[in-house]
């Protein structure tokens, strides 16, 4: 039976928004939540006091809770913070492989979608190191997902796939939000906070294309596995990962839960989601389509406005 995992929030939200988000999330039918700062360590001081209360509230609501590492760890301070994550007693979701260097011997961990797990050899190596749950990179095809999910089942490690959310396509040392505002990264003045779902990037022909979120580049489309639930279940996938967005997220969680329970067809689920996602664009092309931006529900991979 597939269930739902909510991933860490990618965006820079103020403490009030964070508090409301996890408050609402506790009431939704998701099985587990990964939280913490993934994208930029500079943001953390602004909302880290919300993490403890969120963990308590989610735990009280019966959710399994894990903490994420950063996606790109370079500074000494970031390395120390990563080591500290393993002291909390909660599972740590590794999203930069170097976090494993701080893992106390024998302590289990989760693997997030930003670690390159493309094949059986890598999955086996991570499981031998103590991986107990693995969310695969969104780029994988259905064939690869099926092979890895089978191995995961044999090893007793649940395999999760990207279920919903703007796709994390790249991470950089350069901050694109700061660059767009002609600011240096070190004096960014936290302009990424102005865009709670990332800042849209279109082509010169007005095609909706990407979104920037500080040092991260996302798809502008919201990936959704609404039409792929049966295929993923058949492949042996254990969970869908839902990635937070600023509006209507609790409703989105409930919609997927209805989809998983068979109370709603894939097409109905997609129709319910479309008005809820930023810009109303859905994609699922990495899994079975010609390119990541494609949507199996229609024939055109890129939609020109």
């Amino acid at each position: 039976m597939m269930d739902l995992t909510v991933g860490p929030n990618f965006f820079f939200w103020d403490a009030t928004r964070v508090r409301a988000f996890y408050h609402d999330l506790a009431e939704t039918p998701v099985a587990r939540v990964v939280l913490g700062e993934l994208v930029c360590s500079k943001r953390l001081p602004f909302w880290q006091d919300e993490i403890g209360p969120a963990i308590d509230r989610l735990g009280a609501a019966g959710k399994e809770v894990a903490l994420t590492s950063l996606a790109l760890i370079t500074l000494r301070r970031e390395r120390r913070q990563t080591a500290d994550l393993f002291e909390t007693g909660l599972p740590v979701e590794v999203n930069d492989l170097s976090a494993l260097a701080h893992l106390p011997a024998g302590q289990p961990f989760w693997v997030g979608p930003l670690v390159n797990v493309y094949n059986e050899g890598t999955l086996r190596w991570l499981i031998r190191r103590g991986a107990r749950r693995v969310c695969l990179p969104p780029e994988l095809t259905l064939e690869s997902v099926a092979v890895l999910a089978r191995l995961g089942r044999e090893e007793g490690v649940p395999i999760e796939v990207w279920g919903h959310g703007r796709l994390p396509l790249a991470i950089s040392a350069r901050c694109y939000h700061a660059r767009l505002h002609d600011r240096a990264k070190d004096s960014c003045q936290f302009v990424c906070g102005e865009d709670p779902d990332g800042r849209d990037v279109a082509t010169l022909d007005h095609q909706r294309f990407l979104a920037v979120n500080g040092v991260q580049t996302l798809s502008q489309s919201t990936a959704s596995m609404a039409l792929q639930i049966d295929a993923l279940r058949e492949a042996g996938v254990a969970a869908l990962r839902l990635s937070p967005q600023s509006r209507d997220f609790a409703e989105i969680c409930r919609a997927y839960a209805a989809g998983l329970a068979g109370q709603q067809s894939g097409a109905d689920l997609a129709a319910r989601l479309r008005p809820l996602v930023p810009d109303g664009i859905l994609s699922d092309g990495f899994l079975t389509g010609p390119a990541g931006a494609a949507w199996s529900g229609d024939a055109t991979p890129a939609r020109v406005q």
């Binding site: 492989l97 260097a101 094949n119 050899g121 350069r174 767009l180 240096a184």
Partner: protein, 326 residues
């Protein structure tokens, strides 16, 4: 002297690089096992063995990049590439994937292992993890670090470091980017290609030349202006009121004048990008850099770089090596 590691997309380029003074040449097999899986490029196992004989006879090394991430269910293709490399007598393999590193350490223990830039090992913890888990001897550092950060990393690790000094420039952390497959279905990690030519279309529209990748417009240039290749992250896009190169300008890396500082930072080897470039390009760049590393080793001033015309977009940057780039 710092080791000069030079690209070879073809046997002819390998010979040109060796003759122009490369200390080591890196190349790959003609399939999806390497990150420059471009049409018409790369080596058969026989080409590789012949290339190794040619290079070794002239005192140069051959390093083989097997640096894509093996496809689930198809790992034997990558495993065979390792076996072919060892049989050809190469000096090292350059790997990125955890599973492939584990396989190489177990089944080819005598084959020297370098960590590809595609593994994006950007801090000492990551590098030490790869060194202790897989016996990696050298790491190619991601192009996201400043010279100061490189020096700090070298103080905390025991393995050699290699850095890019010239050629194409990734703005994203390498090996962690699926922009290309979002637009085209083909990615560096899975297919060994970024913004592949098979998905590029040029169209003359009015006075413009539009370059599209997988149907997405990457840039428009005046018909007569220089036209960079439509690499996704170097494209011209619009965000709100702004239009421009939101990720990176169409520039390429030239860190020639940083060679003394990179040497001071403890860097062992300098890498030139460009396995997709011609033997003419390779020979010119290698010759210029060989002169530069010799001057550096002898404590002489560096010769002026003559390489601007070969650069993409004909403009150069020192990239992440300077902190202001961020």
């Amino acid at each position: 002297m710092m080791e000069l590691v030079c690209p070879a997309g073809t046997p002819a380029a390998l010979r040109a690089a060796v003759e122009a003074g490369a200390h080591a040449v890196y190349c790959g097999f003609a399939d999806e096992t390497n990150a420059r899986n471009f049409p018409g490029l790369n080596f058969t196992p026989e080409d590789m063995a012949e290339g190794v004989r040619f290079a070794h006879a002239r005192g140069a090394k051959v390093l083989v990049a097997i640096n894509t991430f093996p496809r689930a269910g198809a790992e034997p293709l990558w495993h065979r590439a390792l076996a072919h490399a060892e049989a050809a007598g190469v000096d090292a393999v350059i790997l990125a994937d955890l599973g492939l590193l584990a396989h190489a350490a177990e089944h080819h223990p005598g084959l020297r292992r370098h960590l590809s830039v595609q593994a994006a090992a950007a801090n000492p913890d990551a590098i030490n993890l790869y060194a202790s888990a897989f016996g990696v001897r050298r790491v190619v550092l991601p192009r996201v670090l400043t010279v100061e950060e490189i020096a700090a990393i070298n103080r905390e690790i025991d393995v050699e470091t290699e850095v890019f000094v010239f050629g194409g420039l990734c703005v994203m952390a390498e090996g962690r980017c699926s922009l290309s497959s979002y637009a085209t279905g083909k990615s560096p990690n899975m297919n060994g290609v970024c913004s592949p030519a098979s998905h590029v279309a040029y169209a003359e529209e009015g006075n413009d030349l539009a370059a599209r990748l997988g149907g997405f417009t990457i840039h428009r240039t005046a018909r007569t202006a220089p036209a960079p290749y439509p690499t996704l992250c170097k494209g011209c896009f619009t965000s709100g009121p702004q239009t421009g190169h939101i990720f990176e300008d169409p520039v390429s890396l030239d860190a020639t004048h940083l060679i003394p500082r990179l040497a001071g930072a403890g860097v062992r080897a300098l890498k030139i990008e460009g396995r997709q470039r011609s033997r003419a390009y390779v020979a010119q760049v290698v010759r210029a850099f060989r002169a530069a590393v010799e001057a550096q080793a002898a404590g002489r001033p560096l010769p002026e770089s003559q390489l601007a015309r070969l650069a993409e977009g004909q403009k150069a940057t020192t990239g992440a090596y300077a902190k202001t780039w961020r």
